[in-house]
Symmetry: C2
Subunit: 463 residues, 2 copies
């Protein structure tokens, strides 16, 4: 076989392999049955001197890799939040791999830079973002693709730090910069993702958690925030950055950005909005009100690679001020090199169309509502937080221990996979609709398994 035949043939074999994998994924146990360290003994300790055959490599996919894979795209996977997977995105990613340009400047690959700008506008318009966020041909704002929400949070914090230092130095040029940075305070909900706290550590600034409570639906309210910043200012500190979350990781709670935004604007505090998971839903008119208050934000980010069918990585971030955008693009983006990621957006948006994407979001929300209904109909269980999108937080009425045992049984069964969260000191089970192929029958089967294991657990444990 010559090299040309080889490429065409092997590529097509791989297409069959991955299509078969995804088509039959629900036959596999969703969670692997291996112990830490399982893989090392299955392969040699060193790379081969002479090439292995392709056949040997392919055989090892089932022997070495698959036994250790958590199947995120199984319709029985309900853990974490979804990670996107669609065939249009995979086709685009193949093309991106072949073009293989590194988009660190316009000249390094004009199409890469330009398609990204236009795709960010397309997506911004789908979300009905304020005009300030759209680049257009003369716009001040615009968007870039980051790798992850963690990077976006960090980039926004760094831009905010830089802006605040500049403002203060303009009025007080003699003040040492380290004196300013040592007094900066950033804020985020106590429900915010751990990457927000880490952004503060990396940027070398104080990060304070704003308390939330169950009676407030785990949302940050303006009143609480205002009190904190007043106290901090009285203590000589400089509030400079708020990371507000729309759709928190534990329970999909929404911070009150219509209250927080005006406070930030009045106090010259940078408001960054992290809607990593929930952001995709804002393309549906019925969920768009959740984004009201965006007009007060300095930057906004969500992950199409979670819930908008664009395979990882694709975390979209918009900024309103051209000057900042430029510094974000040129200096504050953490990696310099980047793949041609906008091809995935282009393929997905065109091959689904806006309506197809909306249908997809709505179907997931309906499946979550169906699961919520099943839980509410069972008096042994309770719902732990409002079900707004496609995440259901629930638990057995009773002790944390009982719920921990239940979750352990569920995951040990390896038929479905869930992860827990803590809400107001309670151990809570999270049921997130994740896979593109999840249907009502999978949700009902999941509930059947949970319900039956609950029966066993309740019989065994005193409650």
């Amino acid at each position: 076989m010559n090299i040309s035949q080889y490429i065409h043939t092997r590529g097509k074999e791989m297409v069959d392999l991955i299509a078969d994998y995804l088509e039959n994924i629900e036959q596999r146990p969703v969670y692997p049955n291996v112990e830490p360290g399982y893989l090392r003994s299955l392969i040699p300790q060193e790379a081969p001197e002479e090439p292995d055959t392709y056949e040997d490599v392919v055989k090892d996919i089932e022997r070495v890799i698959m036994p250790g894979v958590t199947h995120w795209h199984s319709p029985y996977f309900y853990a974490y939040f979804p990670t996107a997977s669609s065939f249009p995105a995979m086709l685009a990613d193949m093309l991106s791999g072949a073009i293989g340009c590194i988009g660190f400047s316009w000249a390094a690959s004009p199409a890469c830079t330009e398609l990204e700008t236009v795709m960010m506008d397309w997506l911004g318009k789908m979300l009905k973002l304020p005009e300030e966020f759209i680049a257009g041909t003369h716009g001040q704002g615009g968007g870039v693709i980051q790798g992850t929400a963690s990077e976006a949070t960090l980039v926004a914090l760094l831009a905010a730090r830089s802006r605040t230092v500049r403002i203060i130095l303009a009025n007080d040029p003699q003040r040492p910069e380290t004196d300013i940075t040592s007094k900066l305070v950033a804020y985020a909900s106590d429900q915010a993702h751990c990457s927000v706290e880490r952004a503060g550590m990396i940027g070398g600034v104080r990060m304070k958690k704003i308390p939330t409570k169950q009676s407030n639906k785990y949302a940050v309210h303006g009143e609480t925030f205002l009190k904190m910043i007043q106290e901090d200012k009285a203590a000589g500190l400089i509030p400079f950055y708020l990371c507000a979350t729309l759709g928190t990781t534990p329970s999909c709670a929404f911070d009150r950005i219509t209250e927080l935004g005006p406070i930030c604007n009045a106090e010259q505090i940078w408001m960054h909005i992290d809607a990593a998971y929930a952001g995709s839903s804002f393309i549906c008119p019925e969920f768009r009100p959740l984004l009201n208050g965006i007009e007060f934000a300095d930057s906004f980010n969500f992950n199409p690679h979670k819930w908008l069918l664009v395979n990882f990585d694709c975390s979209t971030m918009w900024d309103i001020i051209e000057e900042v955008m430029l510094s974000v693009q040129r200096h504050w983006q953490i990696p310099l090199g980047r793949r041609f990621r906008s091809l995935k957006m282009w393929f997905v948006f065109r091959m689904y169309g806006l309506k197809g994407l909306q249908d997809y979001i709505r179907k997931h929300v309906e499946l979550a509502k169906e699961f919520e209904t099943l839980v509410r109909a069972d008096p042994r269980f309770e719902i732990s937080a409002d079900v707004i999108l496609a995440l259901v937080c629930f638990r057995l009425k009773g002790s944390n221990e009982m719920n921990e045992v239940l979750l352990k049984r569920i995951n040990n069964g390896k038929k479905i996979h869930l992860v827990p969260c803590q809400l107001s000191g309670q151990f809570v089970l999270r049921f997130a609709i994740c896979a593109r192929t999840t249907e009502s029958r999978h949700v009902r089967e999941a509930w059947r398994i949970i319900s039956q294991l609950a029966e066993e657990v309740m019989q065994e444990l005193p409650h």
Copy 2:
């Protein structure tokens, strides 16, 4: 066509498309003939409501994308440094896209975490890294895949910052942390990549450039570094981090790590080694001496996605101290989510074998030597820096203006593509062997073009 047929069919069409693109890439002008903003008018202003057909999307690849692509994998591309491209890596990336797991913890996908650890050991052994860098089953050190060298530089700087603050606080617990960080100084060559300076900005620490000169082959020497840190310590500053470069971006210069390492170890300065481009060559015994001094390093990074046939992104980083490694993996890696990137290493290492990879590196170095010989044989030209690997820095003897005009003519011709650098105030042309498919005939053709344009330029301009 049902969905299953659709997937298999479209995937195979895309395989043919990308294989054809790569097989015929040298027929295309290597650099695009478009003006900034070219793309926006070629596509709609908004995403479609209803789906477009796949045929329309595919047609638009040639109409919209290709005219704006800089073809990094053309054998006539000699700009920047190489970015890797191989079919084994692309096949692995397809598989990675299909598995689509997000490896942020062991449980999120055990195979993803474990294969990465073992592949980092394989590669570390190929480079004959000291035992401290190998994880094995009981090792203290080990490696992780970062996205880019920029991230590795930053992560190392943050770990160094954290270590130094901890050491100082242990002796002087009352000292304010901001007083310490305000006195920290990081160092790097004046030839270091701009991302090193940016890492200092992000980490909020002072970054000093160590001067180099032509007579020292643009390398940082121990003597110069020692003098700087002594002066800085006398001024009350705290030297804490050195980013040494093996293979600088302008001229592929090598900092003297055998001299710098002992100084860093004695002064408790973290030595990070950035060998982004050159690192791949160290798998060949004849180039391994360039890495001597690695035994003094705290961390080491290079990019298999540049020159080791593993498509972007794959930047491999090793650390010697388990404690630091853990903090790197768990807290200091900038993105939390990550693709199953080690599959690319596994496929490439197995399907090429160590010998195949060595042959590949050697061939590129030989092609560079061939080009160097052509330049040296022409009395109009001079070589501007030692040719150690596959980069040749050269220029017309004479004014910068003349060389700028020459480069402009070269790139306007769009048959070959080069970028310049500045060395000791001189405008220099960089000729880097980049594509996997570059052969002697392409190099000779490139020289023919350069030589002929030089003739034209010299006739037109006074010299």
